[in-house]
Amino acid sequence: MAAQAHIARPDPHTASDKEWGEYLFMRKNPKGVHFERWFHANGCRKWFHMARHTVSHEILAIYGITEPAPKLDGGEGTS
């Protein structure tokens, strides 16, 4: 299971409809480095972060689910 990482849930009391809609539905699809959330379904059942290159599928970094994205060459790619 993988999905785009580092999407903050806006404050539901103050978020506009547009902000809430973006939080729910809008996702990047970069050609390049992508920061993702993964779930180790067939193992320890822990969520974790992965920086992955969407072209080569190379795994560039693995980091904790509460940690911020590391700085990587290639940036976030273009969406």
Binding site: P12, W20, R37, F39
Partner: protein
Amino acid sequence: MTQAFRNADGGLIDRGTRINFTYDGQRYQGNAGDTLASALLANGVRLVGRSFKYHRPRGIVGSGAEEPNALIQLGEGALTEPNTRATQIELFEGLVANSQNAWPGVGFDIGGINNIVSKVIPAGFYYKTFMWPAKSWMLYEKFIRGAAGLGKAPTEPDPDIYEKRRVHCDVLVVGAGPAGLAAARAAGASGARIILADEQSGFGGSLLSSKATVDGKSGAQWAADVTQELAGQEEVRLLPRTTVTGYYDHNFLVAVERITDHLPFADRKGPRQRVWKIRAKQVILATGAIERPLVFAENDRPGVMLADAAKTYVNRFGARPGSRAVVFTNNDSAYRAAIDAADGGIHVVAIVDLRAKPEGTFVRQARDRGIEVIANSAITAVKGAKQVSEVDVMTLSDDGTSVSGGRRSLDCDLVMMSGGWNPTVHLASQSGAKTVWDDTLATFLPGEPKQAQRNVGGVAGQFGLAACLESGASAGAGAALDAGFDAQAGKTPAIEAGEGDGELNLRPIWTVPSDRKGAKRFHDFQNDVTAADIALAHRENYASVEHFKRYTTTGMGTDQGKTSNVNGLAILAELRNEPVPSVGHTTFRPFYTAVTVGALAGNDTGPQLLDPVRKTAMHTWHEAHGAHFEDVGAWKRPYCYLREGESVKQAVDRETLATRTSVAILDASTLGKIDIQGPDAAEFLDRIYTNMFSSLKVGSCRYGFMCKDDGMVFDDGVTARIGENRFLMSTTTGGAPNVLNWLEEWLQTEWTDLEVYCTSVTTQWAAIAIAGPNSRRLLSELTNVDLSNDAFPFMTWQDGDVAGIPSRIFRISFSGETGFEVQCPASYAMALWRALMTAGEKFNIMPYGTEAMHVLRAEKGFVIVGQDTDGTTTPHDLGMSWIVSKKKDDFLGKRGLARPDTLREDRKQLVGLITDDPNEVIPEGAHISPEPHAPPPVPMEGWVSSSYYSPNCGRSIALALIQRGHERMGESVAIPLEDKVVRAKIVSSVFFDEEGERLRG
């Protein structure tokens, strides 16, 4: 039959072991060590098939996986397999093979008429003629496929067994020719875990068909010695007869091992084939190279063969593919083949060379032997219908585009051609590496590796034996080193001086000119594609290589263009006046060679193993009592229990009525159960569910809805409070794993401050629902727990023994009847079930299945998430606004439910439907239309989500999601079906006992 074309000695076959086989109904003999192709050639059989489109007679072209023509229908009956290559079938006693693509036989073929009318079957013909109108294609298709068809699929179940195996290694070496063997030897010595795979029966690759010596012994002997050395190493796994067919991400490769295909049927035991799923730290590709045909006039006549293939038949099998050979080449390698052919008893009439001044090691050797070299010349015609009888040779112009001068005819029955070599870059390309064009070799080489991978030997464009051995050893050591082992390349084996350096000195002439206008010059034998077809595609502006491929069908046969692709691209490049690399090539995709579907399935076939099956603790009871099962997720659940002579509908009706009139029990074990503990458990549930759970008292339970954060219903179930900080959540059967993952996701990623621990206990507890007016009386006979309404009110639970088994009793109901659910430790569930059935005899108890459960709940208008919802349905849409808390500050879905789209008035809302005809049961999924007779696309306003015959209502009932449904009570709507329009009235979704007296009674 005698083997008239078998040499008295030489080669690697066992002349002492004769093997009988049948080809196209005729019996022949070969020898142990033969392939079907070499045995046929030894018997003088040259004609092996008819071509795909024109049904031209075809002979054997190659000696391995590249073979485009000799496609064989192998075996008979259930064991038959189409599209195997004669060049790769090891001969075994009793082998039965038939040529394909020819009816009634290769000698006389009715489809051959296509050849005579071939002017009207140019490239793109099928598309142009038969694709429009679409209906006509249906008519033509059968005829075309019948005439063109590539073999026949077996019609009986495959009796063989297959196996899949995962394996990990430090170094995977693909290909066991000189480079691969040297690599495996260097890597293996380090103690690393090595896999060496080769598609052939024996290791050695080109050494098996070469006369070169290594370290003073024959190449084959050296290969055998190295193989033996490797076999003695504990961590080396040798996989002969194994084709690595796919190269995926992260050095994951798939290989297919043919374990018993080479054995007589009586000796075949165990799995026939094994799929290896290999995870390698390092990969070395030593996949070699495939010789390239020359594209010249009538080059598809039987008897025109790749030069190296002819050399292989002579050297390795002692079989002569002809008696009088003309060699046609644009490079040096064919000279070596010519010399070996001559040594093997073939009269080499001449070597026709497209180059002006050929002069290399082997050119000199050939001349020294007195073989005539006709330089600066081309073969312009090949004569002979079913076998080559003569070729014409003319002088080539300086620019290589035309021929002139007198025509010289050479009498021959074999043409050995060489247009250079194409490295087998398939796996390298699959791994993600770009290919790069090499001008000297005029071919594509694998570029910079994208994974932990190395290329050695022929695939890297190294055609000299010394270079292969050296690069192999160095790559083997390097790979082992990178995998963390101490490795050395070791001493490179000694090679004879006369072996040459592998230089080809090649002159590419992609389309060999001829004075014969209209003579077919094939570049793709299997798909019958000629240079003229490429020109047509180019003229019609199929400019992109992907379009060109599909238009001409170049490379789309079972051989996937192993001999044709580079020639085709180069010809297209010439027409476009561009260098080949800027034309590019189509993507190399797995599999390298075709894989039997059975091998990919492995053991995972049949009703037991095709999919994982989940069974409840009472499963065998259900089986023994007529259960008709349905799949719910991976679970097998009784849909109903069939009695003698009963139809499914009768059984469902009986079970449905029994539940409302006396008592019936349901195996509800499959519902998901999650144990939720921790100091923040109540707060957590308040955030997960739309309704409030922190206010729930210990000993009580509550029905809850979960929404995704967009406000759409995602799962539902009853959750009980077991303790101050402990809850037992139930989920839908199919949703259980998703719900658990959902809970974990929020706890781990967003609400990391909450101290809550979730554990699946779905199968820890078996569950039996007891429903019906007699349910209390039945249960009270088996327990001391006071079940009276006052002592045990609706939506509470209590612990207690039932039939002596420690259980938890819940006063809940999904049927709308007075009911209980008893949960007990799963290993006692069978005993509890039997006890209930026995005690219930006096009430005429019966088990009920999922369909009766569905009918009962639909009668009550209870929704099933996933059936009456579709991911765009809110609790409000379902008419269940009461379950959405207004008090809570936040919960998943709260903000989503306030989005303008979620608040729209024209949303689809859940209602009941009753058909005008009470016996009409609308099919579930049917659409509801405001204009059922409108021309397509017919406008839609909703759909039927649940629909049953209700014996308790005495009529059909349905639930539907209809736009603005809640305000349209009493309205008539139309449901267009295939053959009629059904009319129904919108009603409340509760059809039975609207007050709920039975439920709480």
